[in-house]
Symmetry: C2
Subunit: 473 residues, 2 copies
Amino acid sequence: MSSSSSSSSSLSRSETFSLFSLTAACVGILANTFQGDGEPLIASLALSGIAFSMCFAMIRWLGPTFIKAGLKGVDMSKHHKKEIPECMGAVCAVVYLLVLIVFIPFPFYKDIVAATSGGGNRDVMLHVEHVQQGRFLHRFPHSKLASYLSAILCLQSIAILGIGDDLFDIRWRHKLFIPAFACIPLLVVYFVDFGVTSIVIPIPLQPYLGELFDLGSLYYVYMACVAIFSPNSINILAGINGVEVSQSIVVALLLAFNDGLYLLTDYPHPATDSHLFSLYFLLPFLGVSFALLWHNWYPAKVFVGDTYCYFAGMVFVVVSILGHFSKTLILLLIPQIFNFIYSTPQLFGLVPCPRHRLPRFNARTGLLEPSITPWTPERQPKPPIAWGLKMLGKLGLLRVTLDEEGNFVETSNFTLLNLWLVWRGPLREDRLAVEITVMQTVVGLFGLFVRHRMALLIFNADNWSITDTSVPV
Amino acid sequence: MSSSSSSSSSLSRSETFSLFSLTAACVGILANTFQGDGEPLIASLALSGIAFSMCFAMIRWLGPTFIKAGLKGVDMSKHHKKEIPECMGAVCAVVYLLVLIVFIPFPFYKDIVAATSGGGNRDVMLHVEHVQQGRFLHRFPHSKLASYLSAILCLQSIAILGIGDDLFDIRWRHKLFIPAFACIPLLVVYFVDFGVTSIVIPIPLQPYLGELFDLGSLYYVYMACVAIFSPNSINILAGINGVEVSQSIVVALLLAFNDGLYLLTDYPHPATDSHLFSLYFLLPFLGVSFALLWHNWYPAKVFVGDTYCYFAGMVFVVVSILGHFSKTLILLLIPQIFNFIYSTPQLFGLVPCPRHRLPRFNARTGLLEPSITPWTPERQPKPPIAWGLKMLGKLGLLRVTLDEEGNFVETSNFTLLNLWLVWRGPLREDRLAVEITVMQTVVGLFGLFVRHRMALLIFNADNWSITDTSVPV
């Protein structure tokens, strides 16, 4: 998966040829969709291919520019510690946003014809039946445009704030709220445009709360929490080459797979619209992410920066909130949730937290080992914490080293990556990234299985199916 | 106008008190609009006050952070050349965008009630008569939301690209097209949402072309040209403390004054909606710009960066395109247009163009003088250029110095600021900024006078007045 060993900032001949061919094919497909009915899904696929090529080439070309501007970092887990460009996620974000904007006329094309044939008489609206009648609801009603735009706004906001974070190195206590600011456009437009704040109540609770329960303003708090959690959770499962991008790709692929389930059902599913919407955001995201992974995979030629992590997390938030499947998203982020909960002892200061907790590179073996927090005989954990640490050690959830007197000498740091290394022993960096990615995939597939097979046990239907617009979470 | 002489990054006690009072008053007004009918124009004013306070405080606080991140520059026109923060326009842009997003529920509030009272049945649309009936059309139909969002998108795009420009120092040949990329969302949504591409033909040409002429896709080219011109024209009328911001404030004030004319007419004007829309964008812009001017006025404590110039220019583009008064905008940018045309000999390489053409600081007198392009006896302009330079010298449009043999020794650089110094002699930096600002105001007022008094000579009516949505440029 890694690119050629050349570290220059130009594309090799075979790369140029491949990217050029891919771009040409995609442009051809795109031009073809203009001729026919203008299939937005095919257009989206073609644009995703173009996004891959653009992103691939720009990451390569802009490397020296980024280094010159001070956006650079040193890879701590290598023998040769040279500076490589940092914050390349910003390139992905810009390419992605450009593609999403250029894509607008495809799903909303029919409305254009209806709207402009009246010579500027924009009050020609499509009726609701019109929207519900198709097997694949490829064309969206005009009112969906505002949702689409609010999603782009939200992603642009997180890109700006992410770049700010990468530039100014904001403290993590403040960082945590960056996605909260970025999701304001999404919530505001949801409020103005959509306003559905009811959730379906599980069957055992229905006698007490009714079938639907209106959360009201609490629903916005819930959405904000999802929006804060998802980007940050991806940002803290980081520290080795490729892991930020590969976990994002897995989540995006699983979400896209889930969307596909709704498009391939035997009956026209009422949520088809929402899931097409989701695919339009996920496919170009996969395009730019694969381009980034190529350069970020071990041994990394570039770093992704916080921008990418926030951005990826926010893409998932946007599609799941607007598509009304935020609970499904949570099922796909189980490793991230585990990592966050597992990190809390250090995040909340119960155990000392070093500036960096990434796995330790053993220069002799070339392998990664769990990084540790050292304890001195003078500075020992307080009794309840000590008890907890020993307990975790016994459960195999922490590596604890004690001296003869029972004093703590060192404990491994509280991150999923370190825990994995405690379990699986020293691993090479790419091996660790592969294993984490496989684990994320397996857990995510299990999550989807639970969501589609088990949900029927506690809910009336797999999806609420009166009308598309009232599909609750 | 300049702030206290303290260059620290904290607010003085009186500043804290003033900003706090202003913010409290604005929050009070804002809360009040919730109680009553929710007047969006008053809410917008209150939010602009809050934007001023936020921006003022953040520019002060973030100074050291910007310098630490390498966003700094040296003021060449001062005795003491110390480094001050650069790119503070980015702070303005972020505050401005946040305010615009928070503002969304105010103008679109009535729709919320209509849309959400049906329990998520979003197909309850307001009828057109409903929109046209009010004296002041404070509430917008739902379909305007997409325009509003596309404007924010466009401004966010220019902010991202402007920050990129400030970080990476892009060459000006590439820079020129930054606004072209940023205006894509505006044009795409205009295409999907609006699609009016007709212009009103002046009376003398009506027998040949008809009353309305459909420019079709050329209309998009026209809009793109306005979008490329306006931000770049503000960016090249720069180089002394305060001039970028003060010219932008003048243009914004004149546009707001023009909008006011439509709100205060005796009869309900069909374009009221467009002009309210415009005010909602201009008022917060004035708020953040005054905060920036306070710090950027002579002697500058911060630089604004290309971000601000692009951003300001794009605000004007957005309001004038969506409000259908882009020709009025062009009348208000006459000094910028003159500056651009006057610059062409150097921009297009007919005359050598040094890296910086800002006026020369005479350290002895403390005054600014025109900066010059030197000529050597070996390197003289070609005959037609030489003739042109001498001609401009005779017309008083250039300072030309010749030696006894008639060879060029030096010519002043081709910028409006240098030309002004040729005319008015050496001036102190703030005096020059004041004079340019006054000139911009006078020319702009004259432009508005022409637009409203003279337009009737060549057009049937001051504004096309069948329906609001079909008001052409």
